[in-house]
């Protein structure tokens, strides 16, 4: 009856009996909503002030114990609910570090008090369970500075349904574009873009996706004749957002982009001129294919994969061995050069057995050695999912539980190792084999967890089968929701500077793709091609979207999600160092093992692992290969980078080298003007603008020392943002 008074409807309670309050369905959501069990308060692993709840209420049994049995029963007191510490603290009558959370007599207060009065009953097996959470609407187009009220409805196992809009928690992934308050009211900001709002209630989630047009929704721009399906989806996205794409770049800018993104290499002057002279309609496709056939393509993408696969050469400070990383790097390079289908490439790594000599991908198991490594590396690299949270507690924003985490770990529970040094970080002679037994237990319940991929089938097998084989087949299944999609997204991010899902390995329902139709189409196309990586590169790099200028127009200046302009990014450390070497025609000397050197002319993108000491590479963000996350490679600016440009002995050595480009330039008989024309193409893949020529010539003519003059001019051009960035 009380419930009826308070809520005006018998539906408000989840239980059949409108008066009985169910702990899990009625009480825990209040604790969650009030923030009691959040990670900053009692939900953190150490609890707060001796009172600990399960994080975000995912383990109601635990919470009940904490509330009712601990603290000598002072937290809830059925004889006089109002004097229970739970309520006294929450209303701030007893000093509470978290301050006042609740008003006396509020609806939430009454529910808690009633539950206590009814004897603070524990969760019961026949309690109704939340089965579905429905958001209305699920999508919307909102103007800037406007509002929309979301509605959230919960359905329980006994068939009851109730409005939980005010009881749920909301979180926006782009609060500046579309924020949300505690009552589910969305407010858009000053600028356009895409956003998603996650609502959480009783362990279930629902998502709203909002679009805020930058301007008036426009007619889709006319597509060029050779536009690919990729462009069709983008054009639709631009129209929804009310942005117009930037101009198409010229051939010089395009060849620089393509060479750097496919081969990690600057185009030469001859290549630039040949491409500009080529007027055939399919010249771009021809260029992409030519680049894909070059060894630099394999080397450059092998470097990218060696980061993700953690082909790491550093051992403990005393160990100097280079443990098979060169073999593994070579295997990756060969796989890419021969365009091995991606599903096969991954299966060969995941199911590897034997030694590094007979089977180089076993080197992956050198770095990836524990349950934590297996789960996190596989989830992040191949499934595009960050599941780390579920190691210790239910993932707060995704359906992943600890059982999912350890189910994935169990796939690898029978990986056996033999040989190698026991105490070295990277044993050199280790053999990988499949043991006949091996299991993983749930850390809280202690139950043995069968091998099971995320959302996939139970892979429990006979001792003669390798669960990894089944796992690899599950990955490559046509309907696998993660595998191909993650790779497509990764490659899109590589070429366009931002994944359709961003960050690229953080796929969540609460982090939807910026263009779901495009991601879906590319994924289907990639699977249909037989996981053909070069085909995928052709699709992306051949699109009009890839040729969009980085110069914004008025409609897309603030756009960071729809690719209406090209997002500039700094050259990767290795690519940048190689670019310096190429322009100045002085190779970098890379120190090898035991005082040796890598062969002269070795390029940074060809190095087998990160254990090659080069200060330049470290300061420009070469990753340490500690994780499968590409985010480990950073293009964050840093003071040390700028100091490296300004005062590095290596760059000065390259500028001053006796047989290097600058020395030859200074000694040649050409006019300054001819030289300036040439070196702009060499550095920027384009001719100088008039004002640039003038500046360069004025300087060169003002300097009596021709050699010093060219050194300084070259240095200045190589330190410009135009050189340091892909744009």
């Amino acid at each position: 009856m009380l419930a009826m008074v308070l809520f005006g409807s018998p539906e408000v309670r989840a239980g059949d009996d409108p008066v009985r309050i169910a702990f899990a369905a009625d009480v825990v959501p209040i604790l969650t909503k009030l923030g009691c069990n959040s990670g900053g308060c009692h939900g953190k692993s150490t609890g707060q002030n001796g009172f600990k709840l399960s994080l975000l209420g995912f383990v109601p049994e635990f919470d009940h114990e904490s509330l009712v049995k601990e603290a000598r029963g002072r937290r809830v007191f059925a004889g006089d609910p109002d004097s229970s510490l739970l309520l006294q603290k929450a209303i701030g009558r007893v000093p509470h570090g978290g301050g006042r959370r609740l008003r006396i007599g509020s609806a939430d207060y009454q529910v808690l008090a009633d539950w206590i009065r009814q004897g603070a009953a524990p969760p019961r097996a026949d309690d109704p369970v939340l089965v579905e959470l429905t958001m209305t609407p699920t999508r919307g187009v909102l103007q800037v500075n406007s509002n929309e009220q979301l509605k959230l409805s919960a359905k329980f196992s006994n068939g009851t349904r109730r409005d939980v809009t005010r009881q749920a928690l909301y979180l926006s992934n782009e609060p500046e574009i579309g924020g949300v308050d505690g009552s589910g009211s969305v407010t858009t900001g000053e600028r356009g873009g895409l956003f998603a709002v996650l609502a959480r209630y009783g362990g279930k989630m629902a998502v709203y996706q909002g679009t805020v047009p930058f301007g008036k929704a426009t007619e889709p721009v006319a597509l060029p004749k050779d536009a690919s399906p990729v462009d069709r989806f983008l054009v639709e996205g631009w129209a929804r957002l009310g942005v117009l794409p930037s101009e198409e770049v010229d051939d010089a800018t395009l060849i620089r982009r393509l060479s750097l993104d496919i081969c990690g290499t600057l185009p030469t002057v001859a290549e630039v001129r040949a491409f500009e002279a080529d007027r055939r309609p399919d010249r771009r496709t021809r260029l992409i294919n030519r680049l894909l056939d070059r060894p630099e393509y394999a080397a450059y993408f092998a470097m990218k994969w060696a980061d993700i696969l953690r082909n790491r050469g550093k051992g403990y400070s005393t160990s100097k061995q280079r443990p098979g990383t060169a073999l593994f790097a070579g295997w990756i390079r060969d796989s890419l050069a021969t365009n091995k289908p991606y599903d096969q490439f991954v299966a060969e790594i995941l199911t590897a057995t034997g030694s590094q000599r007979e089977n180089p991908p076993t080197v992956w198991y050198r770095q990836v050695r524990t349950s934590v490594d297996y789960v996190e590396s596989v989830a992040q690299a191949f499934l595009g999912v960050r599941i780390q949270c579920a190691q210790c507690h239910h993932h707060p924003f995704e359906p992943w539980s600890q059982a999912d985490y350890y189910g994935l770990a169990a796939v690898f529970a029978r990986v056996g190792r033999r040989g190698g040094f026991a105490d070295a970080e990277v044993p050199t002679n280790e053999q990988i084999y499949v043991r006949s037994s091996g299991q993983v237990r749930h850390p809280r319940t202690g139950r043995v967890i069968p091998p099971r991929p995320l959302g996939g089938p139970d892979l429990s097998l006979s001792p003669f089968d390798d669960p990894r084989q089944r796992f690899a087949r599950w990955l490559a299944g046509r309907d696998n929701p993660f595998f191909a999609r993650t790779m497509v997204n990764r490659m899109w991010g590589h070429f366009l500077g931002r994944g359709l899902v961003h960050p690229i390995d953080d796929s969540r329902s609460s982090n939807p793709p910026s263009n779901p139709e495009l991601l879906e189409w590319l994924t289907r196309d990639f699977i249909a091609s037989g996981y053909d990586l070069k085909h995928l590169v052709g699709r992306i790099a051949g699109s009009r979207a890839y040729r969009t200028s980085s110069q914004p127009n008025d409609s897309n200046r603030l756009d960071t999600q729809s690719y209406a302009r090209f997002y500039p990014r700094r050259l990767k450390a290795e690519v940048l160092l190689d670019a310096f070497s190429q322009v100045l025609d002085v190779p970098t000397v890379f120190p090898g093992d035991r005082g040796g050197k890598f062969p002269s002319g070795t390029r940074a993108i060809e190095l087998p692992d990160e254990n090659v000491s080069v200060h330049f590479l470290d300061v420009f963000g070469r990753p340490d290969r500690r994780s499968a996350c590409e985010c480990e490679r950073t293009d964050d600016p840093a003071l040390a980078q700028a100091l490296e440009l300004v005062s590095s002995t290596e760059i000065q050595r390259k500028l001053a080298d006796k047989s290097g480009f600058v020395t030859r330039l200074a000694a040649n008989k050409k006019t300054h003007s001819e030289n300036v024309q040439e070196l702009f193409v060499r550095i920027f893949s384009r001719r100088p603008r008039d004002e640039e020529s003038r500046t360069a010539l004025e300087y060169l003519e003002s300097e009596p020392d021709r050699k010093a003059a060219y050194q300084s001019l070259m240095w200045a051009l190589l330190a410009t943002n135009e050189f340091l960035f892909i744009h």
């Binding site: 953190k44 924020g179 210790c392 200046r557």
Partner: protein, 441 residues
């Protein structure tokens, strides 16, 4: 998971995702209020108090029983040869090799009850400098940012031209003084040379062979011209960060301010003598100069304290210079009115065994050891916590590495609710379960 008496350590400090980090960002009244208003942490926003931090990192582990936590009543095999001496704080004694510090003990606070659960250099150094257990001997890579990097990120430099975080002469060899997932922007600037050496010069600010300052200035002018001619390649700001560092680097190399801060020669000889003509003394003096010029954190990595053999013979090389450097630094800071705004911290990865071993040395001891703090608003002269009778375990007020770091962050004005996102996007608290040692703040 590692259980320590009374506390639980685990690698997951996860609470949510990146948005939680934006506590205090003005625009977020909306989206996050439902959660964040309720986070007790929201109350204490980071407030720059204009403070700096000077760290003496005793790499290898200094013996607490021969220095700050004497046990004069223990048997000889525990107490060692050093005698305790009185200090200017009644009732507080120190080892006789800290005679200079004894005279300024009223400025020095000690925490004699720090402990953690690892006895190996690398994991312990990580624990003490990041607050978290992480790497092991076998897997040594750093997993969390150092406190210096955390402070750098939270507060930045006090002057636009000075690097915020500086290591003298270099960052510690394990790599645990760096920024890890905070990003390379927050790594320390490494001085790269011993300030006690003759003709001390900073290699990173020195010009490569064949170049003089006028060359570099010309280069700078050209770069500025060419960069500005192509402003059109980006008008969205993505290049601003590097641009700012480019001008900072050029200013450091060609300008006066930073160069001058490193000119230790310009200090009066008498003061340099007082600090001591050794690496400890001159590093401390340099640290003061850098802080004066606006550096936020200066970490002095001097000496190797891993004295498994002949500990007392070895300490003779280290204690007197450290003592002179530390005492002079505190006096000097006070004289200049800088002590209130300069926190000084001395610690290592652990202490050393109370019982002297068969090689007249002391081994690794993390069960209970002492760290020293001074200035920066810390209550001087105070001793917090105590070790057991012979020094074995914590007698009272156990203090974890995170408690110590929380004390430092608190003194610096950094919100203890600050979380930083790791490589997986998981927010990691800068203090975890640690709390400031309130007796000192």
């Amino acid at each position: 998971m590692l259980t320590v008496p009374g506390r639980t350590y685990r690698n997951c400090d996860g609470i949510s995702r990146r948005n939680f980090l934006q506590v205090g960002a003005p625009l977020l009244g909306l989206g996050l209020s439902s959660l964040l208003e309720r986070e007790s942490i929201a109350a204490d926003a980071t407030r720059d108090k204009g403070r700096s931090l000077i760290v003496f990192w005793t790499h290898g582990g200094m013996s607490q029983q021969d220095t700050y936590d004497m046990k004069p009543d223990s048997p000889a095999e525990y107490r060692g040869p050093y005698r305790p001496i009185k200090t200017n704080v009644p009732g507080t004694i120190v080892g006789e090799r800290f005679a200079r510090q004894a005279k300024v003990m009223d400025k020095i606070a000690q925490v004699r009850s720090v402990f953690h659960e690892n006895g190996i250099h690398a994991p312990s150094a990580h624990w003490m400098q990041t607050g978290y257990f992480g790497p092991t001997l076998a897997r040594i890579a750093a997993q969390h940012p150092s406190f210096g990097s955390v402070i750098n990120k939270a507060l930045g430099s006090r002057s636009p031209h000075m690097p915020a975080y500086i290591a003298v002469p270099k960052a510690e060899a394990f790599g645990y003084q760096k920024s890890v997932y905070l990003g390379a922007s927050y790594d320390p600037f490494e001085v790269g040379a011993d300030p006690n050496s003759k003709n001390f010069k900073v290699p990173n600010l020195a010009l490569p062979g064949g170049l003089d300052l006028s060359n570099v200035r010309k280069r700078r002018d050209l770069l500025v011209r060419f960069d500005s001619l192509r402003r059109d390649i980006d008008r969205t700001g993505v290049m601003d960060g590097l641009d700012a560092f480019k001008s900072k680097a050029l200013e450091m190399v060609t300008g006066e301010e930073v160069r001058k801060a490193f000119e230790i020669d310009s200090e009066p000889a008498a003061l340099r003598d007082r600090y001591g003509r050794h690496q400890y003394g001159q590093s401390a003096l340099l640290a003061r100069r850098l802080v004066e010029a606006g550096a936020r954190v200066v970490t002095v990595n001097t000496g190797y304290w891993d004295h498994h053999n002949e500990v007392h013979q070895n300490l003779e090389q280290h204690l007197p210079p450290l003592d002179a450097a530390m005492a002079t630094l505190l006096e000097d800071l006070e004289q200049r009115g800088m002590l209130e705004n300069t926190l000084v911290y001395c610690a290592g990865e652990f202490g050393r065994t109370p019982l002297i071993n068969g090689h007249a040395g002391r081994d690794h001891w993390s069960n209970c050891f002492t760290v020293m703090l001074a200035g920066g608003g810390i209550v001087g002269g105070r001793v917090v916590g105590a070790s057991e009778r012979h020094g074995g375990g914590v007698q009272e007020r156990p203090s974890t590495p995170l408690d110590v770091l929380a004390t430092i962050y608190y003194a610096m004005g950094i919100s203890l609710g600050t979380h930083n996102e790791d490589a997986s996007g998981r927010p990691v608290s800068i203090v975890g379960g640690g709390r400031p040692i309130h007796e000192l703040t």
